[in-house]
Assembly symmetry: C2
Homo-oligomer: 415 residues x 2
């Protein structure tokens, strides 16, 4: 391939390619907005920085290096279109409403079919499909009579029917800068420098306004009809969940992540069965977006500190190791909700004040907030939950303060 025969370190302004379709973020229609092109088949067509599939672009590059992946591959998108009609919602073109995903990212086949035929390699950044779920704890909920087989959301064989969407990050940098209250140039500079030099085009190509960063995609699970998410008369139950592999998959008892997620799924199913709908959004922000190595280091520091693991020092220990209590941003999280056209959440299954504030500040109203039921909190997770409640997390129950927080202790490492 020609493009590997020499190295282009960065494309400077005099290398701006006229063949690249222009992007008008927030335009009224997909055609006016233009397609996001972050593929390499024809570098002259690129109008975004970064590339598809988040960090998996590194695997793709290795696959090319080892000769397994045909560098000039064009995806055959036949039959890949979303399984459900969705949008466009007004939010898709409201200024600054959606800036971290591409609202038209699921419909490239539909809106940019002619450009695809002309040879532009435009890839979907959102995919929507159907699935059946089997979850052991949901089986238990059926056995206990808390959920019923309705032959619609839960089938006689206990399969739970969902529509699900995977959404890649597509960041509109001016919108991102505005949302975080920084100057766009400063944001670009810090993104480049503090990642060890990812994407020189962040600083050399101010004309490129869109970045596909190497972070994980987001997954949304819809219970009930996907169009009901935007129907105000249909009660919506929603949980926005940040990944925690140790609990979500392996059931570690130091936090409430899986129990709360499963409770959210149970509530979402119930809402769909009661004539409303349910939505679970799963964000890839392992360990508060600090990663699992930092998370495990913090566990050790918490459990070995003088006096043992304690709700009183929970946040402090994280900050000592990680530099921040939390590196997540809830500011970008509501974009997925807006993509579905959500305007009101009747029941928000979350205690996080940061999530609540981000949702409400983004223009979505919230009715009730649902705490995790006390009986679902693992014994060793009481340290975390009491620390969070004391720090401002929502709860319908008691909040401990001062010396009382010292009394909430976790297990030692030797137990």
């Amino acid at each position: 391939m020609q493009r590997t025969s020499h190295v282009i370190l960065t494309s400077h302004v005099d290398q701006i390619f006229k063949a690249a379709p222009s992007l008008q973020w927030g335009a009224k229609s997909a055609e006016q907005r233009g397609p996001v092109i972050a593929t390499f088949t024809n570098p002259n067509h690129r109008n975004a920085i970064g590339s598809h599939s988040g960090g998996y672009t590194v695997y793709r590059a290795l696959s090319i290096a080892s000769g397994n992946y045909p560098q000039d591959h064009r995806p055959d998108l036949t039959n890949t279109m979303p399984t459900d009609d969705l949008g466009p919602h007004p939010s898709w073109s409201e200024p600054d409403r959606i800036i971290s995903i591409d609202p038209w990212g699921a419909h490239v086949f539909q809106h940019f079919g002619d450009m695809l035929k002309e040879g532009h390699n435009i890839q979907p950044t959102i995919a929507v499909t159907k699935a059946h779920l089997r979850i052991a704890e949901i089986d238990d909920a059926i056995d206990a009579g808390r959920l019923k087989i309705d032959n619609k959301v839960i089938l006689p064989n206990r399969d739970v029917v969902v529509t699900k969407a995977a959404l890649e990050p597509v960041w509109y940098l001016p919108g991102l800068a505005k949302r975080f209250g920084v100057e766009e140039g400063e944001l670009r500079k810090i993104l480049f420098q503090e990642t060890g030099g990812m994407f020189p085009e962040l600083v050399t190509r101010p004309d490129l306004k869109v970045l596909l960063p190497p972070i994980g995609s987001t997954t949304a699970y819809v219970f009930g009809d996907i169009t009901d998410l935007s129907a105000p008369e249909k009660p919506l139950t929603c949980r926005v969940h940040d990944e925690c592999n140790g609990s979500d998959v392996f059931g570690s008892d130091i936090c409430t992540c899986r129990p709360y997620l499963i409770h959210g799924i149970e509530e979402a199913i119930r809402a769909a069965q009661d004539g409303g709908s349910g939505l679970i959004v799963y964000y890839r922000k392992e360990g508060r977006a600090l990663g699992e190595v930092t998370k495990f280091l913090v566990y050790n520091a918490r459990k070995r500190q003088e006096g043992g693991d304690s709700a009183a020092t929970y946040f402090h220990r994280t900050e000592c190791v990680a530099g921040v209590q939390d590196a997540r941003f809830q500011e970008l999280m509501p974009d997925v909700l807006h993509w579905f056209g959500v305007r009101h959440i009747d029941r928000l299954v979350s205690m996080s004040d940061m999530k609540y504030n981000a949702i409400v500040n983004s223009g979505i109203s919230v009715g009730e907030r649902i705490s995790i039921p006390d009986e679902l909190v693992p014994e060793d997770a009481r340290v975390e939950i009491e620390a969070k409640k004391a720090a401002g997390y929502f709860t319908a129950g008691n909040v401990l303060h001062g010396n009382d927080l010292d009394t909430v202790k976790g297990r030692n490492l030797s137990e």
Copy 2:
């Protein structure tokens, strides 16, 4: 901070900093090898490309941009050291044996304490901690009498006791090139270009041999004593599992991922209870390292194709959309096993011929291979499992070929 006042696009050879500790990959001791420094506190100390925490470095950068994260933070590593003694194993300094993680990455406090005191910001790339797991399906296995409460691996309250490690990718580029059979310069060029320009230093700094790429970390769960993993007289049961969020967390029935993972955990617990040990390694390679958007597009293409979803066309449909049947590399996978000093696996809970070959080719012998029990394969996952068996996956049972593969059909999207 000085380093954000102007932009350094890339550091050229004349900017090589003498203050950076040298790295001798594969050296006999940690001190001879030298610490990997990928932090930004003092850029003159950096001896690696990229940065810590994989893709979460992007969140860290955003956190700095928004003013939440103190750019000059140094982690307080007090009490964060591994909970268990581990290594050094001979594999840690055998040539080319470990090239995708830093074997000394868990012990920076122990080996580089003096340099830490002198002001080098050296961060662990591996963390080892203890945990208790509660898994609904393991509860069922106890109820069914397949697992017993032994008050050691399974406690009376049904907690499963594990030691777990999180391991960040730390790639030694000459070793990586050798393992994939490409020239190092070519590998660097493709990694830079096919990721959309991550890390110009890949091509401008051939003297920097180590890369911390923005991909997910790996997690290892050890059942029994961690030192038994390297003891040939202790029978080892092992599963190497590639992430599948849709099944691992949400129980989607289109594949066997969670059922097989849980079966692996059950087998690993049983091995530990029977005087051996168990090891589950969880790799972040969602959707065969193609990402979830591609995965869902493929699901739609499979289920909408003429004749419906079928084992006969399973791999072909993936290749049409994704360009490859599989973008994973099992070539790097055994490094974690070698870090634990594994030399023989008595029972490998995997049917993948690619995983088996990678393990055996890396110098670890394998006794028995354990298929997923037939009763654990969800109905809709028969398409995948029969296609894989026909393509060379290990099975103790029958393999279908030709027209027989056509008869294995999946559900339609409307069901």
